[in-house]
């Protein structure tokens, strides 16, 4: 069978974006949380909660905007729970985060199964959601051969994810509150001593970050056309996002690059055989790679990234100095 060479490459690029944008949301959100000094391992659960509430409420309201807002609020509420437990009650952050994952997945299935038993909203019945999630070709850019349709013809949540990531980069690096937030993450005692309300900063940014994760979950719900089954929509994206934070060196702009690099390997599993057939000379070997290796690839890459980034710990590394440590004012 004759393969459309350009078409295969374009589809490959398109799929990289379509199936990996949740990573960008998760990573951006987690960067904001970590910049406040909190290590939140509950990304997977928070995305699941954002997904299920965003989808159901968005459908009943027949509004993409309401869905996005609901998923943000649902994620932020999970963040509030995390903040109460770790910031105010000084609970161990790792344990709290892991608990939040279990909890979030539980809520996901509980709410999902409950609604399904009554009346599950099918995405196709809600025109505003369905059309709102349709691809929008960026004028001009989408006409670029090969790359155009692959990179610049996507649904609005893809663009929103990129805008949020860039906005968060600007916020962290170019605004006064961003500077203060970084100070809280580096040394909360010092920040406290110059009059920054550490707890308020931590609460707000944990909620903000978790809210962004929630939108990522909602994206996944829509990408799966809201078809609720026995497996979760999020499917491990949350865990990869935690690793991508390190890959991106706690920089939301780099998270965009990280998502794309990671998505490249993730999507090879889907498109490998097509690429092999379209370019038998150069890429023919892709089809002889066993499925199991493709399945393991994202996690192998994660391991490699962690090794590399821990070796090259340089001075300007983005990891907040007091990441993972609870700040207890009275112990100063």
């Amino acid at each position: 069978m004759e393969m459309d060479k350009m078409g295969v490459v374009t589809t490959f690029l398109h799929n990289i974006v379509v199936y990996n944008i949740p990573l960008l949301y998760g990573t951006t959100g987690e960067i904001i949380v970590e910049k406040s000094g909190s290590l939140n391992l509950g990304v997977e659960g928070i995305m699941a909660v954002g997904a299920i509430f965003g989808y159901i409420v968005g459908c009943y309201a027949n509004s993409l905007g309401v869905g996005i807002l609901t998923s943000f609020v649902a994620g932020a509420l999970c963040g509030l729970l995390f903040a109460m437990l770790t910031v105010s009650l000084q609970a161990n952050q790792n344990i709290t985060g892991l608990t939040l994952t279990t909890f979030g997945l539980g809520v996901y299935f509980f709410v999902g199964n409950g609604v399904k038993a009554v009346n599950w909203p099918a995405m196709a019945d809600y025109a505003n959601i369905k059309n709102g999630f349709a691809d929008i070709a960026l004028p001009g850019l989408s006409q670029i051969p090969l790359l155009g349709r692959g990179l610049f013809s996507h649904n609005i949540l893809v663009y929103l994810g990129v805008v949020i990531a860039l906005g968060m980069w600007w916020y962290l690096n170019r605004t006064q509150t961003g500077l203060r937030l970084r100070a809280v993450g580096e040394n909360p005692a010092a920040a406290d001593s110059v009059g920054i309300n550490v707890k308020r900063y931590q609460y707000l940014h944990i909620c903000l970050g978790c809210g962004i994760m929630g939108i990522g979950g909602y994206y996944m719900a829509l990408n799966m056309s809201g078809s609720f089954n026995s497996s979760c929509w999020i499917n491990g994206y949350g865990w990869i996002a935690v690793a991508l934070v390190i890959f991106a060196n706690w920089n939301p702009a780099l998270a965009i690059v990280g998502t794309f690099v990671f998505g490249f390997f993730n999507t090879l599993r889907v498109s490998g055989s097509s690429l092999a057939l379209a370019f038998p000379e150069g890429l023919g070997w892709l089809s002889s790679v066993p499925t199991q290796l493709y399945q393991a690839l994202p996690f192998l890459i994660t391991a490699v990234v962690l090794v590399i980034s821990s070796i090259r710990k340089k001075k300007d590394g983005g990891q907040p100095a007091s990441l993972g440590l609870n700040y207890f004012r009275e112990e100063r």
């Binding site: 078409g7 109460m84 038993a117 799966m224 089954n229 026995s230 497996s231 499917n235 097509s274 499925t291």
Partner: protein, 432 residues
């Protein structure tokens, strides 16, 4: 201090508030206490309806609303209701049991302790534990889905000739490919030749397609996992976008491949349940299981015999029902199907149900459709040949390309091969 107390109270209120949402819901008696004692149930020869207890071991949650466990759970409850048994008091379930001998053994001990007379295990990996426990508890009947082990008395296995339903779905897909003129058909599958179940399904479907459209190719893409919803969607899109497939068939749990087909404006055949609601503009038909057919027969038999007679009463250690028993079928054809599809399928169904012909034989079918829609089936002797791919396992070619499995006119491949050892694809399949 006051503020800390307030925060604590808030946190507790929130946790409790959420936790209170978690209770309730499930009604069936969950065998949660672990009993280590010996079998308390005594196999009375004719158990009273009200005494009879059914035990079930599930791989996923009994509260699932779709998928494999859901299909079995629905089958068991439907069968029990038909037999007048109370599913609240006479059905004991242990769910989310991993394919681990210790876990399955503990689940069996629990169910026996609860007094179950018959225990169903639905997942392939339960096979060894159930085999052992059947010897340990001769007064209890053990019945294992998708396996191949059994004994002479109280342990059998059950599975269905889903390949027959797949063949019929293949006819629908083939008719559609003739109508659209697109000879590329996609197939998203959990596994390929690793499991006879997936392998025979792909082969049955492909033979059905080719009986209608000999020029068609079935492009198979393997997930390497039984449930991977994200890739089920991605793989289907890839088959449509890069391979130009016009019909997407599947052997995986979710309806994602059908939804992808609908989004792309092409067609599809689902699996396990009628997926028309998920993809109304795309779905043609889906091979489906009627597990209740077996469960009703098994429970009814168990209620009327002693445990050591069960296998004899069931007519052997392996129950392998097909279209004839109604154990497998296809969902009603939708309006998306090409004209005359129903007539062809009806004619072939009759041929299979009568036992006159079966899918994996040396006789190929083709059809003449008259102007008035009457269908004549032509039988041609032709060998069953494997695909152009060498089947390799552990770097050894186990089935070379283009091997003749059944000679022209030969009898069907044996049941044991179809359920247990089939490890090759037929001509017309292309793994990508």
């Amino acid at each position: 201090m006051k503020r800390k107390l307030l925060t604590f109270v808030m946190a507790m209120a929130m946790v409790l508030g959420l936790a209170s949402c978690g209770g309730g819901g499930t009604t069936s008696t969950d065998g949660s206490q672990s009993t280590t004692g010996s079998a308390s149930s005594t196999g009375t020869s004719t158990a009273q309806n009200t005494d009879f207890k059914v035990g079930a071991i599930y791989i996923n949650k009994k509260s699932d609303t779709a998928g494999y466990t859901y299909a079995h759970h629905t089958g068991i409850t439907t069968a029990m209701e038909a037999l007048g048994l109370d599913t609240n008091t006479q059905l004991v379930i242990v769910d989310e049991v991993a394919e681990d001998d210790n876990a399955v053994g503990a689940a069996v001990d629990t169910l026996v302790g609860e007094g179950c007379n018959i225990i169903f295990g639905i997942s392939f990996g339960y096979i060894n534990a159930m085999d052992q426990k059947a010897q340990e508890y001769p007064d209890v009947i053990f019945s294992h889905a998708t396996g191949y082990k059994s004994n002479e008395t109280n342990f059998n296995n059950y599975f269905g000739r889903i390949y027959q339903a797949r063949y019929l779905a293949g006819i629908a897909a083939g008719m559609k490919s003739l109508e659209t003129g697109n000879n590329n058909i996609g197939y998203v599958t959990a596994y390929g030749t690793e499991y006879a179940e997936t392998c025979s399904g792909i082969n049955g479907f492909t033979l059905g397609v080719q009986s209608v459209n000999p020029d068609a190719t079935v492009y198979v893409k393997e997930l390497g996992a039984w449930a991977d919803e994200v890739n089920e969607s991605a793989f289907a899109k890839e088959l449509i976008d890069s391979f130009g497939c016009g019909v997407i068939a599947q052997h995986c749990d979710s309806a994602q491949p059908q939804i992808a087909a609908a989004d792309a404006g092409v067609f599809g055949c689902g699996y396990n349940s009628d997926m028309t609601a998920d993809a109304p503009t795309a779905h043609l038909t889906a091979p489906i299981w009627n597990w209740n057919v077996y469960y009703q027969k098994a429970i009814e038999t168990a209620m009327n015999c002693t445990p050591d007679q069960f296998v004899t009463e069931m007519g052997g250690g392996a129950y392998y029902g097909g279209l004839a028993e109604g154990f497998v079928d296809i969902s009603p054809l939708t309006e998306n199907c090409a004209p005359n599809t129903q007539a062809v399928i009806d004619a072939v169904r009759e041929l299979i149900v009568s036992g006159e012909w079966d899918v994996f034989s040396g006789v190929k079918l083709s059809y003449d459709i008259a102007e008035d829609g009457t269908v004549t089936i032509n039988k041609t002797d032709a060998p069953l040949v494997t695909s152009e791919r060498d089947e390799v396992k552990d770097d050894v070619v186990v089935v070379p390309a283009n091997t003749e499995i059944v000679p022209a006119g030969g009898a069907s491949v044996e049941d044991g091969v179809i359920t247990g050892t089939m490890n090759y694809f037929v001509d017309g399949v292309k793994v990508v």
